[in-house]
Symmetry: C2
Subunit: 353 residues, 2 copies
Amino acid sequence: MELDLSVPAPELTARLVDIPSVSGSEGPLADAVAAALAALAHLEVHRDGNVIVARTAFGRPERVVLAGHIDTVPVHGNLPSRLDGSLLYGCGSCDMKAGVAVALRLAAQLTTAVRDVTYVFYDCEEVEAERNGLLRLSRTSPELLAGDFAVLLEPTGAVVEGGCQGTLRADVIATGERAHSARSWLGKNAIHAAGGILDVLRAYQPRQPEVDGLAYHEGLNAVGIGGGVAGNVIPDECVVSVNYRFAPDRSAEAAADHVREVFAGFDVLVTDVAAGARPGLRQAAAASFVAAVGGQPRAKLGWTDVARFDALGVPAVNYGPGDPQLAHTRDEHVGVGQIEECERVMLDWLQPD
Amino acid sequence: MELDLSVPAPELTARLVDIPSVSGSEGPLADAVAAALAALAHLEVHRDGNVIVARTAFGRPERVVLAGHIDTVPVHGNLPSRLDGSLLYGCGSCDMKAGVAVALRLAAQLTTAVRDVTYVFYDCEEVEAERNGLLRLSRTSPELLAGDFAVLLEPTGAVVEGGCQGTLRADVIATGERAHSARSWLGKNAIHAAGGILDVLRAYQPRQPEVDGLAYHEGLNAVGIGGGVAGNVIPDECVVSVNYRFAPDRSAEAAADHVREVFAGFDVLVTDVAAGARPGLRQAAAASFVAAVGGQPRAKLGWTDVARFDALGVPAVNYGPGDPQLAHTRDEHVGVGQIEECERVMLDWLQPD
């Protein structure tokens, strides 16, 4: 598959959507992106697995990092892409192949700019943190991610979103005692006992704190459940996988303590945690970008790799085309106008008239 | 693996236990059983998949069928077999390789008898009814199962158990709406909704009716649960697999209606149902066996293939070594004395002094 970076960004988005790239299967799309960037003489291209980094060397005093993940959540009957009027539908259209398309278009067009630019395309953002390609690169080649400021082109509705909520996954385990299901009263049914875990989840009241002037909204949800031995056995274990999304005024450790406390009486095994990031819009680099975009910044509710850049000491914001509320839905889509708007705003910011 | 049918029944049980035969993997054990029976000149041996039938041709006016399944539930750290004093431990020791060992010992010893005998060893009794080897044989070669009376050597504690409860499996399905877990309030969590299914199960009061003088005890249990799309997606489906064990005064159809009524408001898909069998101990053939064994008959709670024989018009009872309450437990075991007792009772009944 070959990517033509000269087509308009909305059309490029459709082509990216039509190369499926569910987390763990990004190879073909990564190949296409790497090949397209390698053809651009003003970029130095690095590849590490399915992570591709392309850097300009304009000799400017400031360097900006533009980053996006190329993976998607599982396909849900929503491929190939479909254009309906001014809306482009398809798995990953909103989260975040539209943002990736904007970055690729900038990479192709900005043969010069007022800032040096590092383009980063990476894999496995939609799965557990340990598989995240940006995390791997930040450990193996942090120098490739260096910069004065980073923009993550996650869907924000073309509004600057500051900070991000943290995310924690844990297995909450109900136990019981096996028995033949014909004499169930001799055992203890772990799936029935897991009803107590679901009771907690159903009654949970999430916090909605304000942090540095932005309003966050937490959530605690089951994202998986499994249990059962055989069709005639009372099961002795049932595991509920929960996902806690926590505001950036709470540390990863405090989030883990909270989940353990909420599920007191059950075994809780934290399997994955990524801290959030405070908004940080008061820092100079962020403020300049906010001014260029215009409008009123919002809180970012989804976890994004702004937290990763924050940990590397690079101030970062989220800004990209697409309504974040459509991410991961079957009906996922993105407005053609927003893709064009984001491309224009960033072109003007990096290459003013 | 070779089976020596000349060893005492408890030792033969241990050897059978040490040939693992979880449902679907009975091949090696079926091979060993078929080979051992083929060596006996007074038997005509038939094999159909992993079902083995061996018949005498003594020319007696009455034929009795002795039957047992050779499969077990999944191994649970309880192999190989272990003899502790007079108790033999191991997966399948109680349910029902001790009964199979008794039948094999009878097959080897009864070179003549007052009744003709048909020995039946079959696979896939511990899984969904459609895979049951005896069911297959009853459809393809019912003549091989013909007889005046059948004894199923399922564990009964060496007491005659009449009838059996029916068993029904159904998937009860909770639905929701997918969303990104960072904005969970935009979706509807199907796993949380399945809490309503677990509420029903936790509150359920099983019937304990008396049928033809024997006391039954029903049960309705989750035996499996599954749901989840990805670690950051609010899931839109959660399936709870339930197993309803129903007394033989209720038909398969009435059982299905009951389950649908209990889970009103959820989608219910009946996946597997096997009717029970009324005790039937007042029939002449059953009564003669009961008299030979002595003691007080009990109700059979677990579903057994007495229901299958009942449907073929062959009166049948359960009678075999092992405490049925230990079946499917990790601690499964059988008393050596009961194995010997069952062998002696049946030898005396078929070949009186």
